[in-house]
């Protein structure tokens, strides 16, 4: 083939000059017009104007009443309860999720089964049902005791008196509304986080584990230092989703019941004053506001675990600069 391209500068002829360097005329062309965009914009604008008009003219909104009560003391306390329940249940949920995901991928048949059963149960039962169920656990156990199992059978059998219990807590205090609700949300979240973290761990290239093993790193160390940090990148966006979902699910605490919770408080004011709708709008505004704050937090966490070395997300999706 090369014999066909070479005669242009056959043997003995001077080296071909490199291309480039000639003056160039910039491309000027009429861009494509999109008139339908203006039609759509006009349509949306009219709808928005109608909506804003309604907000100001419909008296059912009763804005002065809403703003008066939206920041009242019990409501603001409800916001803090909601926030603390979100943060705590997410922390417990993530820790549980990591443990369950590692169990699931451990290869140990006992741990795999336990993890699977856990996920099956807590994903299968609706959170609302779990919340009410945990609120009523005191029916099942009046006291919670820590000790050796089945002592009421084997202690008499060994000829011993008494019991092998070390301390006990009154279930009605321990499983009071807030704790019970928090437990329900955390345990349920653990099941979802387990699946998210498992997906994250599985997304890490097998070569990474092999490289770590070849360096003499044990399985635990490989997980902590190599696999988990890389899984974080994949895990964080859905975890942000879960956090926002959790914030909204704290409204379920009202059914445990947790009376100090945000939605319960707003509804209570609405019911007491017959101003149902303004208080529902207040609930929307509060949840929207907190969600927005959480989204900003997620942005910064993503940036922390997704720093320059991976290229920006845009680069990775549309085509990177480095590769």
């Amino acid at each position: 083939m090369s014999s066909q391209t070479e005669p242009v500068n056959g043997p003995g002829s001077p080296e071909p000059a490199p291309q480039g360097g000639r003056p160039a005329e910039p491309v000027t062309a009429v861009p494509v017009r999109y008139p339908e965009r203006w039609v759509a914009a006009g349509f949306v604008l009219v709808l928005a104007a109608m909506f804003v008009h309604m907000l100001f003219t419909n008296t059912a909104f009763n804005w002065p009443f809403m703003f008066d009560h939206m920041f009242s003391e019990p409501v603001v306390r409800g916001v803090w309860i909601t926030l603390s329940a979100t943060v705590l249940s997410m922390i417990i949920g993530v820790i549980l999720g990591i443990v369950l995901a590692v169990m699931r991928l451990s290869g140990n048949p006992v741990l795999v089964t336990v993890s699977w059963l856990y996920t099956w149960f807590f994903r299968g039962v609706p959170r609302l049902v779990l919340a009410v169920l945990f609120g009523n656990l005191a029916i099942l156990y009046t006291t919670i005791e820590i000790g050796l199992p089945f002592d009421n059978y084997w202690m008499p059998w060994l000829g011993l008196d008494g019991d092998a219990r070390f301390f006990e807590i009154d279930a009605r205090t321990m499983l009071s509304g807030y704790t019970a609700g928090l437990l329900a949300l955390s345990l349920s979240e653990g099941a979802y986080m387990a699946e998210i973290i498992r997906a994250g761990l599985q997304s890490v290239n097998k070569g990474q584990t092999e490289a770590a093993q070849a360096l003499g790193m044990s399985r635990g160390r490989t997980l902590r230092r190599i696999t988990l940090p890389q899984a974080m990148r994949v895990v964080i966006p859905p975890t942000g989703n879960e956090t926002i979902a959790m914030l909204k699910d704290t409204a379920l605490l009202a059914y445990v019941p947790v009376t100090i919770e945000l939605f319960y408080q707003l509804q209570a004011i609405g019911a007491r004053t017959y101003q149902i709708f303004p208080m529902l709008v207040a609930a929307c505004l509060w949840y929207l506001a907190i969600t927005s704050v959480l989204m900003v937090g997620q942005y910064f966490i993503e940036r922390r675990f997704n720093p320059g070395q991976y290229g920006s997300i845009r680069d990775r999706i549309v085509g990177g600069a480095h590769r």
Binding site: Q213, A214, M217, R221, R233, Q309, Y310
Partner: protein
């Protein structure tokens, strides 16, 4: 080497097998199956201390699998494999084999460096971070000690100014050289190379081979699975041709490459040379 080993040229392993005293790797009838697929059908090989052994062969011939058997990334289906007189992955007591625990295998592996075709650098760590990770985590070296050693190694592979670069910011050849430095940081007595230049653009192959050549000249024992016949001829002390899970032919590189005795070797070499 013990007194007896020096006299007889034979050394005794912990479980009582006699191995040639100067052999760092001894593979004895190594078999490996993946399900019903037989990938290795009985490999017998010895790598002497300081030897550079190159393994060539068509793809699917089992050469990479054999390399991965050496540091127990793959479990043998049958046969035995010793590195430095230690049975890899098992302990033999009164004729029975006991699997080693995860951390015991990790300890065995820490003496064997491995370089992969696809580099497998840790993308969340800088070049320096990649190199100091194992010495700090496994060998419990202090950070300053590990960093000093890492900088020395980066110098050695020709990348003294890339310590803070992340893998994504490095070319393939640079990544592979960092990977070699990372393996060397554990001060291994054996280095395994699994087609270290196969994923590289042609103009980047040379820089990696240069580093490997330096390493060989420094006396490192190396087993190199490669398609670089030039490297095998110049740097290799021995050449092994594998096909279909067996060693077809082995000898000095010059012998095997210029005067292959076996038909399969001839057929393969006629395609790649």
């Amino acid at each position: 080497m013990s007194e007896r080993a020096r006299e007889t040229g034979v050394t005794m392993t912990a479980e009582g097998t006699e191995l040639p005293a100067n052999a760092l790797v001894v593979a004895e009838n190594v078999h490996k199956n993946f399900g019903r697929l037989e990938v290795l059908k009985g490999i017998d090989l010895q790598v002497r201390r300081g030897e550079v052994m190159c393994i060539i062969g068509p793809s699917g011939s089992g050469k990479s699998t054999f390399l991965r058997c050496i540091n127990h990334l793959e479990k043998l289906t049958a046969g035995r494999l010793w590195v430095n007189g230690e049975l890899m992955g098992y302990r033999q007591k009164r004729g029975r084999l006991y699997e080693l625990r995860d951390n015991e295998i990790a300890l065995q592996r820490s003496d064997i460096g491995m370089v992969f075709q696809r580099f497998n650098l840790f993308p969340h760590l800088s070049a320096l971070g990649n190199i100091i990770e194992a010495p700090m985590q496994v060998k419990r070296k202090s950070r300053s000690e590990a960093v000093a050693k890492a900088r020395e190694l980066l110098e050695r592979v020709g990348l003294p100014d890339k310590a803070d670069a992340y893998p994504d910011q490095l070319s393939g050849g640079q990544q592979q050289r960092v990977a070699i430095a990372r393996a060397l940081a554990m001060e291994p007595s054996l280095m395994l190379f699994d087609e270290p230049t196969s994923a590289l653009d042609p103009e980047l192959v040379g820089e990696v081979l240069d580093v490997m050549r330096d390493l060989a000249e420094g006396g490192m024992t190396m087993v190199v699975v490669t398609h670089e016949m030039g490297f095998a001829r110049e740097v290799g002390d021995s050449l092994v041709f594998m096909d279909d899970g067996v060693v077809v032919e082995s000898g000095s590189p010059a012998e095997v490459l210029s005067d292959p005795r076996h038909e399969r070797t001839q057929a393969f070499l006629s395609k790649v040379l």
